[in-house]
């Protein structure tokens, strides 16, 4: 940690006497020495970015808070329920909220399965059909040749929302591949803001840095390219 002796000299402005007391108070409380470790990292990043200003967004250092979110998201608790479905709880690491999101584990696709020719499935009986409907089993199982256990009915995969808004810094939050809130999408939008504009950056128009709509990218990642 740095000492006060590392502080830069006080501002050189001409403060009238009436202002000096408040100015001194604010400066003493708010002007802190530079953290050396952070400074070394930031300076290296800034110098490298200055040599390649066209790709300056690639040099954005990982924010401390973003790293906190990543660490918190790594602590995923999956509550198994049903056949292949569950609820994942994600702490976003910043405000203590727990975000429940459906964990989209796809059910096995049985449509293209080739049935085995060596052990054909027994024909369904009326009782089997009734059992599937919830009626009690009236078959008396043979002790020597037990009846095959019927396979559990496949559970359909959850239907994803087709056009969920992504990367919008307004009400909707970006969702990543795993259904978690993806702060980096919004951060990317911020990094495209024009620093010289007279207005603060508008984060409503989140577009990937290469010009690709993040909604398209998300759809491709989740459901494959169309």
């Amino acid at each position: 940690m740095n000492s006060r002796s590392d502080l830069p000299p006080p501002p050189q402005g001409n403060l009238p006497g009436a202002d000096a007391d408040v100015a001194a108070l604010l400066q003493a409380a708010l002007i802190r020495p530079v953290d050396e470790i952070r400074a070394a990292r930031d300076i290296a990043v800034l110098a490298a970015a200055a040599k390649d200003t066209a790709n300056v967004t690639a040099f954005v250092p990982r924010r401390e808070r973003t790293m906190q979110r990543v660490a918190a998201a790594a602590a995923v608790v999956v509550v198994a329920s049903g056949a292949g479905f569950g609820v994942a709880q994600f702490g976003d690491g910043s405000d203590g909220r727990i975000v429940n999101e459906p964990l989209a584990i796809e059910a096995p696709d049985t449509a293209n399965d080739t049935p085995s020719t060596s052990t054909p499935a027994p024909p369904a009986t009326q009782d089997d059909a009734a059992q599937d409907a919830g009626a009690p089993d009236t078959n008396t199982p043979s002790l020597s040749t037990p009846a095959p256990t019927p396979a559990p009915a496949p559970v359909p995969a959850p239907t994803p929302a087709p056009d969920a808004p992504v990367g919008d810094a307004g009400d909707a939050e970006a969702i990543d591949d795993f259904g978690r809130n993806d702060q980096t999408a919004n951060d990317t939008a911020d990094e495209t803001c024009d620093a010289e504009s007279t207005e603060p950056c508008d984060t409503d128009d989140a577009v990937d840095t290469d010009g690709t709509d993040p909604r398209e990218l998300l759809r491709e990642r989740r459901f494959g390219a169309s």
Partner: protein, 191 residues
């Protein structure tokens, strides 16, 4: 302030000279972080880093002397601050509790940390009494060390408005500090 060295440092910084960036960084960051922290930025250091990256990106377009450069940098910082305030409204977040951080403070730095904490705990409640605009004006004037004319340009308000905001904010702080209305009368020792 870099004064006579400024033009040379800026030219070297445009080339990506690390030494030049070190000089700019150490010259700007304490005030930049102080302004952002005093304005209530949740993670002032992060916003300051973002600000400097924006400076890098648009540095080739900048023209002017050191005061103009300083004013330009704080304009960017002000915009970043507004962005973060917007984000915080949408997604409120709390920084790590100070008590948690204190457990990680090294014993040899405890005195300095406690002194800084005392000073910060003294000032922040006072600044919270101000409106956002008053706070912006006061911090830009006294932490960023820019003139009221430059403050007006940075926050995009008329000079007379800024002058009035400055006066009201200053009167408010001084009335709380030196009339005993502020409960923590120890603040007088800092002035």
């Amino acid at each position: 302030m870099l004064n006579d060295m400024f033009a040379e440092v800026l030219t070297a910084a445009r080339r990506g000279d690390e030494h030049a960036w070190r000089q700019l960084y150490y010259d700007l960051t304490p005030q930049l972080t102080g302004y952002l922290a005093g304005s209530g930025a949740v993670s002032a250091e992060d916003v300051a880093s973002d600000t400097l990256l924006h400076v890098v990106r648009d540095l080739h377009r900048f023209e002017g002397d050191e005061m103009a450069f300083r004013s330009w940098v704080f304009t960017i910082a002000h915009h970043r601050l507004i962005d973060q305030r917007r984000k915080d409204k949408v997604r409120p977040s709390d920084a790590t509790e100070r008590d948690t951080l204190e457990r990680h403070i090294r014993p040899d730095s405890m005195d300095a940390e406690l002194a800084e904490r005392f000073a910060l705990d003294t000032v922040m409640p006072l600044l919270d009494l101000c409106t956002d605009s008053q706070r912006d004006v006061l911090l830009l004037r006294y932490i960023a060390d820019v003139s009221l004319h430059e403050v007006a340009e940075i926050i995009g308000k008329d000079y007379n408005t800024v002058k009035a905001l400055h006066r009201r904010g200053l009167d408010l702080l001084r009335s709380k500090l030196f009339t005993g209305a502020y409960p923590n009368s120890q603040t007088e020792t800092l002035s």
